[in-house]
């Protein structure tokens, strides 16, 4: 039987691993290669690595670090952050990154998404969407690491990305990021119902119950979480952790 995937989502700033709250307030978590080694031992389903400052610093992905991490990953690895060209996607694939997430560049250049899907296969390309709720309760797509509002409706945008052929859609709730208050089920439900493409829920996971809820109520194919897998206890002590096979079985 196919099990919904549970994916630690790790944020990079420079060479360090950080965790944000609502896309701000980055807290240092540790060395990324070391964290990946631990996640590897815990046999995680998959790993997602997002470089959250690459776009704003207008630089290339940190290939050296990504290569070090890929060398330790005996599970599927996704990378996102400042991917704007086919050449970069090719380079990342050759290093052992099988999924490349495109966010800001996908919004400004739909052709890049289409071309990447045609060239590398749908399953290699993930479209990442950052969503924030207005105070009237309307959902809007934000880009550039949550700094620019496109005012676009995320459901319509997800439908468009699905038509371009992306293999997965990562839906990240800016409002829930780092809060551990649960996924935005209403948002996930809408997007998951609108597209056949597998949806990865991100933003807000604070417990296995939250994960279960996203799977059973919003019908997502996978759930990603940051804080849940790097912090422990109410004081948020850094502790790399992951559910046991028995716990995952019950999801």
């Amino acid at each position: 039987m196919l099990k919904p995937r549970v994916i630690p989502c790790l944020l990079l700033r420079g060479r360090g691993l950080y965790k944000t709250v609502k896309f701000g307030d980055p807290k240092y978590v540790g060395d990324p290669v070391n964290a990946v080694k631990i996640f590897n031992e815990k046999e995680v389903d998959e790993l997602l690595l997002l470089d959250i400052t690459a776009t704003s610093e207008k630089r290339e992905p940190n290939y050296e670090l990504i290569c070090d991490i890929a060398g330790e990953c005996f599970m599927p690895l996704g990378y996102g952050g400042a991917v704007t060209s086919i050449e970069q996607v090719r380079k990342l694939h050759r290093m052992g990154v099988e999924k490349v997430a495109i966010n800001t560049a996908a919004y400004s250049d739909r052709r890049l998404v289409k071309e990447a899907c045609d060239m590398f296969g749908s399953s290699s390309i993930v479209a990442a969407i950052d969503v924030k709720k207005t105070f009237l309760g309307k959902y809007e797509v934000w880009i550039e690491g949550g700094r620019k509002n496109t005012k676009q409706d995320p459901v319509k945008y997800a439908e468009e990305l699905a038509r371009l052929g992306v293999g997965e859609i990562l839906v990240n709730s800016i409002d829930r990021d780092g809060t551990q208050s649960g996924y935005d089920i209403a948002l996930l439900k809408k997007i998951s119902a609108a597209v056949d493409t597998p949806v990865i829920a991100c933003g807000g996971a604070g417990s296995l119950d939250h994960i279960r809820q996203a799977i059973t109520e919003a019908h997502v194919s996978a759930t990603a979480a940051g804080s849940l897998f790097v912090f422990h206890g109410k004081h948020k002590a850094v502790l790399i952790n992951y559910p046991t096979p028995g716990e995952l079985e019950k999801l």
Binding site: M1, L2, D45, M75, P76, G96, G121, S221
Partner: protein, 208 residues
């Protein structure tokens, strides 16, 4: 030495990382001489069927691989799209595959009245149907492997089927014949399960 065939359509990095992990001497190459000197071959692959076939022709690898696999009988492991290329035909494309295995590639179709999200993506159970030259020996049970695919293999000779997996319905998740193993899943991305498969391929697999 294990040669990982480089035709610009594969996750060569992941395969190389896993081969290194099991202590194999491995090299990524599209040089016929290097491939000819290799003890065993891995044919990776991610992407579209016709484009992959096109690349194999463009790099002059088509005849080379036919010679090494059919005449010299070098052990070869095909992974994902690399496995599908070993079949005769694919519903994904128009160009013929290698046809080393009497099999074809079909699209996943939802059984009546059911919804089936495609691609089939994630960890699924693999149940062996035969020994396949011991390729699954010592793999922890139940065997779980990572899959990503929208098309699957269909064996036209029942004896070919090495393992079965269920997604919507049971399908052939691996095939094996003589010196050829084709795996739809990604052992290079499947933790201890895949590690053992690569170890078996490198250390003991000759033929089945």
């Amino acid at each position: 030495m294990i040669a990982v065939v480089d035709y610009d359509t594969g996750n060569v990095g992941s395969v190389l990382n896993m081969l290194k992990k099991v202590g194999a001497k491995a090299q990524v190459s599209r040089d016929p001489e290097v491939l000819g000197h290799a003890d065993k071959l891995v044919l990776p692959g991610v992407g579209a069927f016709d484009e992959a076939i096109g690349n194999l022709h463009r790099f002059g690898l088509w005849d080379v691989l036919n010679e090494l696999v059919l005449e010299q009988r070098k052990p070869i492991l095909g992974v994902c799209l690399g496995a599908q290329l070993m079949a005769r035909t694919s519903e994904e494309g128009h160009r013929p595959g290698f046809g080393w295995l009497n099999a074809r590639i079909a699209r996943f179709r939802a059984p009546e009245g059911q919804q089936l999200r495609v691609p089939h993506m994630g960890w699924n159970t693999v149940t062996p149907d035969k020994s396949g030259g011991g390729i699954f020996d010592k793999v922890p049970q139940p065997m779980r492997f990572y899959f990503v695919h929208s098309f699957h293999m269909v064996a036209d000779e029942p004896d070919l089927q090495l393992s079965t997996t269920t997604y919507g319905y049971p399908f052939a998740s691996a095939l094996a014949s003589r010196n050829i193993i084709s795996m739809q899943f990604h052992p290079e991305k499947s933790h201890k399960y895949g590690l053992q498969v690569y170890r078996n391929f490198v250390e003991s697999f000759e033929s089945c």
